[in-house]
């Protein structure tokens, strides 16, 4: 599935937050990918030293053009380069797509429950955008836990969803401070949030949970305790110690 390294070029950037940047890459011969898959990136220093990391794709491919979003990790080895140094036109090696489990296929008729913690929104946004691009009417619900309104990725799309997103409900759940006038007291995702804004287990939704390890552990436990079949809960954890 994952052929060798391809040389991509940075075609555009979009800053999502103060610490996260979307990279638009042109990858000649890109074979296409499923929503939820990731790519491996490889950087090579002048002395031949190499570093590789995996990043989730944030949108369906448009021909040879792919998008991924990188969260800058303080003291990281790779993410500061990708978010601050890499310039439009620069080459970068890409391998993929990778991952065949944490994926949503538009042909799957089950309702979808997406639960994102922070940067875990990235592969889930690829699912929302794929739904829109394919004209799918599969019912989606997205619960997105984030610290403050300033930490919202894809803010324009998630605050004012395009017409194609009818039937894809977005709930923002702030952990530190919410927008003015919001009634929910800022808190970590809890069972009541999932019960109120998710799908009941009887609907047998396909559940996708992505975020930092502790968040994913907590959210997946909430889902199974609410009665969701563990086999319908797919998780993807952003390992600490990366960068």
């Amino acid at each position: 599935m994952a052929a060798g390294w391809r040389v991509a070029r940075l075609a555009g950037v979009h800053d999502e937050t103060a610490t996260a940047r979307t990279l638009v890459l042109d990858v000649p011969g890109w074979p296409g990918h499923l929503a939820g898959q990731h790519v491996d990136l490889q950087l090579t220093a002048e002395d031949g030293y190499q570093a590789q990391r995996s990043y989730s794709l944030s949108a369906p491919a448009r021909g040879d053009r792919i998008e991924l979003t990188v969260q800058r990790v303080p003291d990281g080895e790779v993410s500061p380069y990708l978010t601050e140094v890499l310039t439009i036109g620069d080459p970068i090696e890409v391998r993929g797509p990778v991952g065949g489990w944490f994926v949503w296929r538009p042909a799957d008729p089950a309702p979808v429950l997406l639960i994102a913690g922070g940067a875990g929104i990235v592969p889930l946004m690829a699912m929302v955008r794929t739904r829109r691009a394919e004209g799918s009417r599969t019912p989606f619900r997205l619960l997105y836990s984030l610290r403050t309104p300033a930490d919202l990725y894809y803010a324009e799309e998630l605050r004012r969803p395009p017409a194609g997103d009818a039937g894809a409900d977005v709930t923002l759940l702030h952990t530190r401070s919410g927008p003015p006038g919001s009634s929910r007291i800022p808190a970590r995702l809890n069972a009541e949030d999932v019960e109120r804004h998710g799908w009941p287990p009887e609907f047998e939704p396909a559940c996708y949970v992505c975020g930092p390890t502790g968040f994913v552990e907590a959210a997946a436990d909430i889902l199974t305790k609410l009665g969701h079949d563990p086999r319908r809960v797919r998780t993807e954890r952003f390992g600490a110690g990366g960068g």
Binding site: M1, A2, T44, Q50, S54, D90, P230, V233, R237, A240
Partner: protein, 199 residues
């Protein structure tokens, strides 16, 4: 060597630890799994080995605890590119568990509480290369890292070290497991960088 990335320097070199290609060092212990963490009560826990002829050998938790255990210090290499060195474990060698098992099988499909599976050659579980591990860093192995007990096969990528292991099926033909069916390598040697099918 790949194409040079303008302005990329990487971490300061010097503290040379030999890692498999494409890996980087971590000090913490990241978690990777595909679904919710199963919680397995010890009084219902069981580990089994089923041979190609259908004979099943079973161990309850007290029976596993009664077997001679080993303490080992090993390096871990995850296909998501982190490596963690000199981790300390306690568990029962597969040599001990397989000693009374008669088989002509060449392959193993390990399966876990929660439904995970992974395939390995049987010879990679013998000769002091693999354990059923229940202790980590001097403590009981936590559920998020695969407790109460996991397979530990440190010379292969860590997805082969099935968390929450429940049993081994000995097979005469190789059968892909969970990640292997999703495009990951059947063997998974980190030093040969066998990440994906075809590597």
């Amino acid at each position: 060597m790949g194409i040079v990335s303008p302005g990329f320097h990487g971490r300061p070199r010097g503290r040379e630890v030999e890692l498999p290609p494409g890996q980087y060092l971590v000090e913490d212990f990241p978690v990777l799994s595909a679904g919710p963490t199963p919680r397995v009560p010890l009084d219902r826990w069981e580990f089994s080995v089923t041979t190609e002829s259908g004979t099943t050998h079973r161990w309850s938790w007290p029976e596993l605890m009664a077997l001679p255990s080993e303490r080992m210090t090993v390096d871990l290499h995850c296909v998501t590119r982190w490596s963690k060195l000199r981790t300390r474990w306690q568990g029962v060698s597969l040599d001990t568990l397989l000693a009374g098992v008669e088989t002509a099988a060449d392959f193993v499909l390990a399966d876990s509480y929660g439904g995970y599976t992974t395939n390995l050659p049987l010879q990679d579980l013998r000769n002091g290369q693999a354990w059923i591990a229940y202790g980590y860093d001097g403590k009981d192995l936590s559920a998020e890292h695969g407790g109460p007990a996991r397979l530990l096969v440190p010379h292969l990528y860590l997805w082969k070290s099935a968390k929450w292991v429940r049993g081994l099926r000995l097979l005469t033909r190789d059968e892909p497991g969970f990640w292997e069916s999703a495009g990951y390598h059947d063997y998974g040697d980190p030093w040969r960088e066998q990440r994906y099918q075809g590597d």
